[in-house]
């Protein structure tokens, strides 16, 4: 997992400290703390993990071990419009793979990678529970149902010029 080098400022460190404190600096709450931290920073760069570890009294290696175990955590910033393609079974049998391929083709990026302009990133997720709408694609919080490869362009266009 490659990480982006970041410079942390005192206020970032204070924020992490505050989050850790909210969770009583209790090693057990590491995952909850990582959730809150990722929500704040958008991702979990190594420097952030180091401080989380220090605050939670857990080694950086272990924090990294936990971060890389769970697919929800990421060490690279996502695009401004993160595209998640559901590849749960219901979506799979209704053609999610071809939709995914089309997104990859049109944006020219692989899964887990952010486009050069920082706008889009593609991720796969397992079942958002909207199987009635399969195949399902999410852009940020917005859900698109019954997406076909033909509809991919429209979805991208919706965000392409948005700022």
């Amino acid at each position: 997992m490659s990480s982006v080098k970041v410079e942390l400022h005192q206020k970032d460190v204070d924020k992490i400290k505050a989050i850790a404190k909210e969770h009583h600096n209790e090693p057990e709450e590491l995952i909850n703390v990582l959730h809150a931290t990722q929500e704040f920073f958008g991702y979990l760069p190594a420097e952030v993990q180091e401080i989380v570890g220090e605050e939670m009294n857990v080694s950086a290696a272990k924090v990294f071990g936990v971060v890389t175990f769970y697919s929800f955590f990421t060490m690279t910033p996502m695009g401004r419009y993160p595209i998640s393609i559901c590849t749960g079974t219901a979506c799979y049998v209704r053609g999610a793979e071809t939709v995914l391929d089309e997104f990859k083709r049109q944006l020219n990026v692989e899964v887990g990678v952010t486009t050069e302009d920082g706008k889009f990133s593609i991720n796969c997720l397992r079942c958002v529970g909207a199987c009635g709408l399969a195949p399902v694609v999410m852009v940020g919080d917005k859900t698109y149902g019954r997406v076909s490869p033909d509809g991919v362009k429209d979805i991208i266009d919706e965000y392409k010029d948005a700022e």
Partner: protein, 597 residues
């Protein structure tokens, strides 16, 4: 409070929420406001109605009108026509797929006819953000009975008599599990609700938490009292923001009412619940992995025994049940063990919620008595196969389950029967497949999932599943050899027998069951290098039938890689080395001149 004459129940489940092109609740409320009807008609956001295929759904009560595929722009018509004039909005009623008749209420819809709702009893009726609604529906009464009359052991006895088995997958008798946890002496015990629904294609737990969070809270308190635990934890997927929000609201309401906290209902019993988030690891559905994860560790399972009932969270006796199991418990206490035991089959009592999805007309969340046959579920409730295609298989139990076929359609669904035919109940995913689905690809799909979700702790699962996947990939790529089939069998057996946890012990099920039921399809892939379902791209090629081709150039224009050549009005040709097998040419040809070989 003003007396309401009418309720507009708007489904607030994720499925409906996602398919609405705007804020339906807001649109309806504004329309009512505009017509000065806010005092008489109440808009209520409820949990999932189950019929996700046709969402967003709005139900009008008390006249029980079931509107499907409602969008915000329909609000005006609903209010002006239905609310004011009492005329049903015809175009929003469900249309029977065969008779084309419009059906106005859920009672008469095939989708609902065979269902009995116990776990989902409040979904679609109560406002999940209102504890008063829940209390009005006998909510927390079971807790009162347990605390005031039954006491711990009698409660566990009722659980045992009811025959309730864990709904999370394994089907272990819940009462027995409670008994073990109770019998292990400790001054510190825990109750854990497993809401880490990770099975792709299953969303019953999420629907329950979104639609009726209090039932889970009530059951957890009962559980805590029965085993002498004072602390509960809900381990929930972080990907379920709505369920988390509603659960938090419900927890706060229960605390305000004193149903959580110290001295609950004057019984002297203390109990509270906290939330722990999952972070995207299927293996954390396994209870020992879940406990690791709750302790802030990597979610790697540990060897059982010791079971969590002896040594679980923080090394203390812990009882883990999943959401659906808990949702049954207050009803069992209220209506009695024998009532519950009268529903279902011999060794599987009560109902089971299934997430019916795939190539079936009525996708959605259903709750049927144990012992209902697959045929009833797929062809009656599910309305048969989409687009008039032929039924081929149904996959139950998710990545741990198997693919069943025609010959299993009349098998009554229960824990033991499904295992007998090589599948599993699992958490209740049920994916229907049609003639276009290649069974080798389907097992490859599941193995892909397992490989990604394996924790990597034990060798058979870590490496074995990867190798299984690679062999399947080879076969679907047309590079399979006859001996690969023997390798699949041996590997599957060893992974099943030698893996550490439930994930590895069941991961070969999709392979084994498809090999049992569709062996000829595997053989065909390996020996003839053919995929009859036409889904393995490497095993097929598109060709133009010269007699049929009129040279309209439609295919050539649609081809994304320009691999179709030929002048206008001349027979076209597909350059095989360039073709990416997207199928566009076949789709666009009006003269049936493109074929797959």
């Amino acid at each position: 409070m003003a007396k309401h004459k009418m309720n507009l129940m708007v489904c607030g489940g994720t499925g409906c929420y996602a398919s609405a092109k705007g804020d339906l609740v807001k649109a309806l409320s504004e329309e009512l406001e505009a017509n000065d009807l806010s005092g008489e008609v109440q808009v209520i956001t409820t949990g999932c109605f189950g019929f996700c295929e046709k969402g967003p759904i709005v139900k009008v009560l008390p006249d029980n009108t079931f509107y499907v595929e409602v969008q915000p722009e329909d609000a005006e018509q609903i209010v002006k026509e239905h609310v004011i004039k009492g005329r049903k909005v015809e175009k929003l009623l469900y249309k029977h797929p065969h008779t084309k008749e419009r059906i106005s209420d859920s009672v008469h819809m095939d989708f609902y006819k065979k269902q009995i709702r116990i776990a989902l009893r409040n979904c679609g009726i109560v406002d999940p953000e209102s504890i008063d609604d829940y209390i009005a529906r006998e909510g927390y009464q079971a807790l009162g009975t347990v605390l005031g009359e039954l006491g711990p052991q009698k409660t566990i006895d009722i659980m045992k008599e009811s025959g309730l088995r864990g709904r999370g997958g394994g089907g272990f008798p819940a009462g027995l599990k409670w008994q073990f946890a109770k019998n292990n002496p400790s001054d510190e015990k825990y109750v854990v609700c497993n809401a880490d629904e990770g099975d792709p294609g299953a969303f019953m737990d999420r629907s329950i938490l979104e639609g009726d969070p209090h039932t889970v809270i009530e059951a957890m308190i009962i559980n805590g009292y029965a085993i002498h635990a004072n602390e509960g934890l809900v381990y929930i997927r972080a990907e379920y923001p709505l369920a988390i929000k509603r659960l938090k609201i419900a927890l706060n309401q229960a605390r305000e009412y004193g149903l959580l906290g110290k001295d609950i209902l004057g019984s002297g019993f203390d109990f509270d619940i906290q939330i722990r988030y999952g972070a995207g690891a299927f293996v954390c559905g396994e209870e020992t992995a879940l406990i690791q994860s709750m302790e802030g560790e990597r979610g790697e399972p540990t060897v059982k025994p010791p079971f969590p009932a002896e040594s679980g969270y923080r090394g203390k006796p812990t009882n883990v049940n999943n959401v659906e199991t808990y949702a049954n418990i207050p009803v069992i206490i209220n209506k009695g063990a024998s009532w519950f035991a009268s529903i279902g089959s011999k060794n599987s009592k009560g109902t089971k919620v299934f997430a019916l999805a795939g190539k079936v007309n009525n996708v959605g969340l259903i709750e049927v008595p144990m012992g209902t046959t697959l045929r009833e579920v797929i062809f009656e409730i599910g309305g048969g196969i989409k687009d008039g295609k032929k039924f081929k298989a149904v996959q139950t139990g998710g990545p741990s389950g198997g693919c069943l076929t025609h010959k299993h359609l009349d098998t009554p669904i229960d824990y033991d029967n499904l295992i007998k035919v090589g599948s599993m109940m699992g958490s209740g995913g049920m994916i229907v497949m049609d003639e276009d689905d290649c069974m080798v690809s389907v097992s490859k799909f599941y193995l892909d999932f397992t490989v990604e979700e394996s924790c990597g702790k034990c060798s058979p699962c870590r490496i074995g599943n990867k190798r299984l996947y690679e062999i399947l990939e080879r076969i679907t790529d047309g590079k399979g050899k006859k001996e690969d089939l023997d390798k699949l069998r041996n590997l599957s057996t060893v992974i099943k027998e030698a893996s550490l946890c439930g994930l590895g012990q069941t991961s070969p099920n999709p392979v084994m069951s498809t090999m049992d039921n569709f062996y000829e399809e595997y053989e065909q892939h390996v020996t003839d290098k053919k995929c009859a379902a036409g889904s393995c791209k490497s095993l097929m090629s598109y060709h133009i039938i010269a007699e049929n081709c009129v040279g309209c150039t439609a295919c050539a224009r649609k081809c994304p890689v320009n691999c179709i050549t030929g002048e206008k009005k001349q027979v076209h040709e597909i350059k095989q080395d360039l073709c990416i097998k997207c199928g566009n040419c076949m789709e666009v040809c009006k003269f049936n001149a493109v074929t797959i070989i």
